[in-house]
Symmetry: C2
Amino acid sequence: MSPILLNGIGTVDDHSEYIEPEVPFKNPQIHVKNPHLDTMEEDILYHFNLGTKTHNLPEMFGDIKFVCVGGSANRMKSFAQFIHQELALPGNMDDVTDICEGTDRYSMYKVGPVLSISHGMGIPSISIMLHELIKLLHHARCIDFILFRIGTSGGVGLAPGTVVVTDKAVDCFFRAQFEQVVLGKVVTRSTELDVGVSKELLQCSSELEDVPTIIGNTMCTSDFYEGQGRLDGALCSFSTEDKLEYLRKAFNTGVRNIEMESTVFAAMCRACGIKAAVVCVTLLNRFDGDQIATPHDVLVEYQQRPQVLVAHFIKKRLGLVV
Amino acid sequence: MSPILLNGIGTVDDHSEYIEPEVPFKNPQIHVKNPHLDTMEEDILYHFNLGTKTHNLPEMFGDIKFVCVGGSANRMKSFAQFIHQELALPGNMDDVTDICEGTDRYSMYKVGPVLSISHGMGIPSISIMLHELIKLLHHARCIDFILFRIGTSGGVGLAPGTVVVTDKAVDCFFRAQFEQVVLGKVVTRSTELDVGVSKELLQCSSELEDVPTIIGNTMCTSDFYEGQGRLDGALCSFSTEDKLEYLRKAFNTGVRNIEMESTVFAAMCRACGIKAAVVCVTLLNRFDGDQIATPHDVLVEYQQRPQVLVAHFIKKRLGLVV
């Protein structure tokens, strides 16, 4: 609990920042940082349509060791089916069922020790999911797991199809931090990710064909058009040269791709002591254009690359490949 | 085009704000504010899986007079079916098909002059949809239409089930503005909505039974848990009293409900000269709690109230009821 937060809250005009203290990665335990949870008789995970009274969460989820999240519900279903196949699990991969069936906010699939969940687009959407996911893993008493975001992104100076494993997740001002407003006060959180997992992912990529991978910074924006310097939105007040100047600045600070979820993902995982990595494929090189005009089948192949890479990581960790 | 924007862009540490000039509602024309669009040979509306070369947008959408958007894909399909029934259109209401079938980012249904689209959760998600929707309506040469957001929200000092028609959409500091970052520079936009449409909606509610409706301010946050003062997230560093103090402050500034999309919705519609309204039902009274524990069938009935209200508005405008 932060005395600065507790004392300073509520003055509407006081947007002063409070930088939360660093939390070392406390693997293997997960740390929900909320003393109120212990006092609740029941916890309804509303957007998952799950709850502590209605579901036996330790029985349903207690053996989870890898959690993979991504924007699209269809893609996360495909990933669950792919992992089913890769881990050579019994049963038919087409039989995976959506655990969040009663709601259309998110989709969730469990395949052996792997949980695959969709999170929609943007920081608020993934943030709701992460709050409920972290509580779910806490209630289920999961230990020693790794959380991956596998997604799509725009590339900055990279050939389309390149996979970027995120070094630092940075905001639209190129700062490695996430600003969370809590009761009208800005709280700044670190977006540092787990270096060991990133390096292990890069090593995995070198053992695969056709998954070109680099480690670089990932810029996270709250808007796909104006916020990422696209010239093709409904609103645009800048020139092509302005756009390119902004992208060059981003590149010079180490940014290699742009997406819309990595900072809050990194910040929440770090705050709760969860080992996490962000693995996104680039669908285009933003220096060359803004529209995604690549043929559908090529895009589908690109989108499989983060899945193939993370699947290889999981199989190695499980001792299924050397 | 703003000279301040064009000249000031790119200095990373310069987050100075630029307040865009007010645009009066330029009904009936829609104004995409992007000179680059005219120079594009093709416009791919990527997240709708539609495009100007692959689809005849004027033929598909030219007769649209009412656009209704909401977070959940299932709910927006139900709304399309409900409107089909209410307008007594020919054919079977169960046959409405998703125009965005090739993607799972958004769902879209057209029923006579009404378009029903899902936008997911949070400002970034609805913002992507709005950019592509506004371009779609522009390409389709639609004129004289009204845009409604029909959604769910947390109530502030209201009985659950009350419908709030938004007067001012305010941010988490209770300011009636939306901050859009454009190439690393903060641009501030007005979130004023159309007063005439709001009043007409309130009048409509008085002609209906069981749709208790008020006009009030709507607070839009980027987070469902810490950002709205909930005590039940994975992270919470404040006390019950801190939470209640924040909600009381919100109430005293005129806030009657809290959701996650209204500011950018209002700002983009205003910037493009589109008449728009926000109509959200409250699922709980936040002074009484944080968890949504209301029985499913009651929630379903609550969620129908904005639909019933907007359907009545549409029928009156079309002369189907007096």
